[in-house]
Homo-oligomer: 686 residues x 2
């Protein structure tokens, strides 16, 4: 598993599930089924327990989960959730990704550029306010009204660098909530192990189990240049866990599509995945070969490639679950049952009975517009291009009233724009050129060489030359250049000779138009139809279920448990540190760093290393703490098994497993391998 | 389009079509529907006409079509069909791919290493002999009996370097024929234009139209070190063609799956393509980035990459046609109708009624065994590995009686083994390492790092190190080394310290076992069941139809005609030389070579360049001549339009178009651009 890579789109789906199976569910903290859990497992979290765990949990805005593990703002998350920071702080001479990082003293902790942590402090129901603003509207008017109301609500709680408020649409638009966060933007790196042990087994072992990863890093939230006071934090378990123990996972699952209609799933299976998988595979090949060009190339793109490989495996697994006729038949049967129930109620049949077919027509339109949205509206993945687009649009958008802006430029969102824009992140021209060249080639392939937009981008240049000229000519890699364009107003943009700024400006009208068309013809009707279907589902199935994941804080419950693998073998839930040493062949990605080889004799090889539980999690949950019924840390989520990939569309209790680093291995490593005594003491482990 | 890339497997399907639509059909020369064509178009080929065109046609054993265009063995085919030879004759200093090649005198013509041309001289029906050998057998016994009989029949016509006999299974095993060929193994290059104009538009324009390619090369067949006498050859048309003209294409379509059952199509759609497309895309990315490393890297892999990109586009198009619900519904309806007809006839229902369900179960098993077959039985794509495998197996197989050998080592096939094995083809270590590394990585990904076969291959090495060690250590790139191992018998293999030989020897038992299992559990039952279904189809629909393509000589008919593109625009059937110059942006792949820029003023810009016809062709037809009713050359097939990709599964007369170079552009280019007067004179053009 990996942190959530894709940005969450405005129209991200949220759905209500059909009756829930054992251990299934990514529950909001304000609706956790404590009674049901108590009935099954003899323990149900109290309100105080829930408040404590919630206030000890943090979200990493980039797409991960984490938790406070000391009263001085110490934050535990995965290595793979902080590796971008570790890489950005590295140089060819001082490569912390390879060598690891440990701040012996507090003063040695280094700031992670552009990192943001959010702690959920409160939830308000704003459904009525949203309904009042959107009732009776459709199409563009609906989108505009919804965005305006969301912007107003987000700003209403006095957005500042320390406060963040988001409107969250749950149950596919059935409910709207305003989430209040305490925000930390001064986040520093305290500890990271070597990549080789953090991601031991690399891509081949990713999403697999048995597993042997030391996938942890420790960050610290600061306020006023001092460690933040975090009186609510998770204590370390003295005893760890054992098979069958009740486990809770508090984190931010990024997104699920469990209540997609059949036509939406068909779109994924027959259009989106068949296009995405080759796309991402070609990019993977480009990066793999680029890495072979030298150690510096490897350093520059190692994380990006692992992210791509992770996404590939996840998409391939999800695609496979939809291509499984038995799996798909369940979805078809569920929809048929719901439609039959709707048909029996004349009021529902009249209001929503035709909406499935309408939605199917929208999915057809989505297939037609998807390439144009991807290439024309979204543009290349290049970081330099993203800077250029933000700078160009910022000047245009800030001149408008809050309610009329693109949502990403609302007052509430503008608060952190400078933090992101001026973060001193190193930009490497090799990968940038690779990404831009790839964008241009695929665009020409998918839209055709004679497409007017393609011609407007490339002119008579080849993709490779076009990409090279942009990267060689732009100065947007310098923070000072970005700052000057940000502060210089529209005049600075208009006068800029920077080729990337000029490119972003040239395509801006077409890009906005492509986005608007997609929103008008896909996002808006899809939103309206799925909301209507969700309400009908509410009317028939009731509300004692959880909403689809939305990268907001959720609590899941389960037990420590193994599973039966694809070859019919029983897989036990725990691995050991001894197993790690046994698996270490000495060849990448199975080569242990010297620190572990040196420490072998001081380690108890029987110590549990990784373990599996039945908790229902998904991408975005990476870095989530696993806690026992006392709310103590017994593990650190970093992956799911191969069967968890189908969790995108449904939870299968028999095979779906989350994968965590055991708290005992974490402590043994910190203490015996890294002598990180300062942090061990702070964690207060046994 | 590109020449057929995949090797034809023993169990390649051949199928009988349902009632044939206008212009549909890849007809064998011994069953061409002349009367039907005459009725529609006022002209039907006579036996003499058919014999003349057949004897003027040649197959390039590597996967293309061609024709004799002079009585001195001059052969016309596509540039992309001969580009491997052009590349193999090139060096970094003398790059004929980039600069083109023209032999001013006959003595300047250079031998293409390992090239083979086959001219079809006769067809015998051997159905009865095959039936006698296989009747009542099933499973392994069936495979063994079939292979033994095929080997015996192939040898029976006195196989030698000059004679080739193949048993061809038509109509899904409904009919077996013995094809007699005159074989030419001394093939020399006479002319090739620059890659830039031969494949003008490169991958972006591939499978598209309007089109502007000069995709020709001229080879010559030699016998006894002299140009072969080929009294039967195609004359050049004096006038060329015009829209609506009747056209014939004589060539070797590689394979179609038009009569696959629904379960076989589902396997393609849901298993094979979703696996193949990402696989091939990743390889594409690796090669794209490798090419960027320098001009020599580009030279080494340019053809391979174009082949990969061509395959990708073809697979993506085929996958898309199966993912189109309307297209698939037609296939489902056809099968339902056939099964209903079978059900009405008690005899058929009893013998074959259950075979569709049995075949569906075989397809399930195929999905389970496919990875093992790919990685374990087939092994890496590396040329060095292929040499090693052939050398290792040759020694083992030649010790057995002909009938018991692997089919590729039958006496009939062994005749040309030395030609292939000792062809002085340059081997480049960079691409070899890339391919081996890719093989090992994907194998570990798809079979899992703990798979015993994976472990037996890699040991404790990483894929990159493993690949490097093999390529750096092997001497199989030298012809002399291969010859010594070939001549040295089993003892030489056993004593060899060559790491590639050792690798091939080490995995040989497992590889043979994986192949045998696949043949026993997939190939044999699939063969038996599809043959039974084909016979039932015969019984119901009759035999006035054509068999699925099998890379054997076929004749198709059609007319010069445009089409309506995906945006609803009318596309006229001809482009012009002027259009080529208009499209030339100066950037690769739209950069014309200097020769054409220099010759512009001497060319009539209104000359037809490329054109489209309704002929029913597919990959393998590349290089086929387009002839008029006088049997004269009016064009040279080199591609199909985007809609032709669905031709794998069915012919759609409204949109499916073949794409050819116009004979007038060919002559203008040879004469005015290349001053290839010797060859122009020989062709005897107007």
């Amino acid at each position: 598993m990996k942190r959530l890579l894709a940005a969450l789109s405005l129209g991200a789906f949220v759905a209500m599930s059909a009756p829930v199976r054992a251990d299934e569910g990514m529950w909001t903290f304000d609706a956790f089924p404590s009674a049901k859990v108590a009935k099954t497992y003899g323990f149900g979290p109290t309100k105080a327990w829930l408040d404590h765990v919630r206030e000890s949990s943090v979200r990493i805005a980039g797409g991960c989960s984490a938790s406070f593990v000391s009263p001085q703002g110490l934050v535990m998350t995965n290595h793979h959730c902080a590796v971008d920071c570790v890489g950005q702080l590295s140089t060819p001479e001082k490569n912390f990704v390879e060598a690891g990082f440990y701040a012996k003293a507090e003063a040695d902790e280094i700031k992670c550029p552009g990192f943001e942590l959010d702690r959920l402090d409160g939830i308000d129901d704003v459904t009525a306010a949203i309904r009042a603003a959107t009732n009776g509207k459709s199409g563009r008017a609906l989108i505009d009204a919804l965005q305006a109301k969301q912007a107003a609500l987000s700003s209403s709680c006095g957005a500042s660098l320390a406060i963040r408020c988001d409107v969250v649409s749950l149950y596919q638009g059935g409910v709207y909530k305003l989430y209040h966060y305490k925000r930390y933007t001064d986040v520093r790196l305290a500890f990271a192990p070597e990549y080789a042990v953090a991601q031991f087994g690399g891509d081949p072992d990713n999403f697999n189990f048995p597993r042997f990863d030391f996938d942890i890093s420790l960050l610290r939230a600061y306020e006023g240049d001092k460690p933040a006071a975090t009186p609510e934090y998770l204590h370390w378990s003295k005893s760890g866990s054992t098979a069958g123990d009740l486990t809770f996972v508090s984190g931010n699952p990024g997104g699920t599509d469990r209540l997609f209609t059949v036509s939406q799933l068909e779109y994924m299976r027959d259009v989106e995945y068949p296009r995405q998988l080759p796309f991402i595979s070609e990019l993977r090949g480009l990066l793999e070969q680029y890495e072979l060009e030298g150690p510096e190339q490897l350093r520059q793109t190692k994380q990006m490639l692992f992210g791509i490989e992770n996404s590939y495996k996840a998409l391939f697994g999800r695609s496979g679950s939809l291509l499984d006729p038995k799996f798909f038949a369940v979805k078809v049967a569920e929809e048929r049952a719901l439609r039959a129930a709707v048909a029996k109620r004349p009021d529902l049949q009249a209001s929503v009975g035709g909406d499935w077919d309408k939605l199917a027509a929208v999915e057809q339109r989505k297939a037609q517009l998807a390439y144009r949205f991807q290439y024309e509206a979204q543009g290349p993945f290049s970081q330099l291009f993203r800077y250029a687009r933000v700078l160009v649009r910022y000047q245009a958008e800030k001149a408008k009233p809050d309610a009329q802006r693109l949502p990403e430029f609302s007052d509430a969102r503008l608060v952190t724009l400078p933090v992101q824009l001026f973060a001193p992140i190193p930009i490497y021209s090799g990968p940038e050129e690779l990404l831009l060249n790839f964008y241009a080639k695929k665009m020409r392939e998918d839209l055709g060489p004679d497409d007017p937009f393609v011609k407007s981008v490339l002119g008579t240049k080849s993709p490779a030359v076009w990409a090279h000229d942009l990267v060689a000519g732009t100065k947007l890699g310098d923070v000072a250049t970005r700052k000057a364009l940000f502060d210089g107003g529209q005049a600075a943009i208009d006068a800029s000779q920077d080729p990337m700024i000029q490119f972003a400006a040239t395509i801006d009208a077409a890009a906005r138009q492509a986005r608007k068309q997609y929103e008008d013809e896909v996002t808006a009707p899809e939103h309206q139809l799925t909301e209507a279907i969700a309400r009908a589902r509410f009317a028939i199935l009731g509300t004692s279920v959880y909403p689809d994941a939305t990268f907001t804080l959720r609590l899941s419950y389960g037990v420590v448990k193994g599973f039966v693998d694809g070859n019919g073998n029983n897989v036990t839930p725990y691995t050991t540190i001894g197993g790690l040493f046994n698996r270490a062949s000495g060849s990448e990605p199975y080569a242990l760093p010297q620190s572990w080889l040196d420490a072998k004799s001081s380690l108890d090889l029987g110590t549990p290393m990784n373990f599996t539980t039945t908790n229902d999690i998904i991408g975005g949950n990476s870095g989530s703490p696993v806690v026992n019924k006392n709310g103590e840390v017994i593990g650190l989520i970093f992956d799911g098994n191969i069967f968890s990939l189908g969790g995108e569309f449904g939870y299968l209790a028999t095979t779906n497993r989350s994968v965590a680093v055991d708290s005992r291995a974490l402590l043994a490593g910190l203490r015996n391998v890294y002598q990180a005594d300062r942090l061990v003491q702070e964690i207060g482990g046994p």
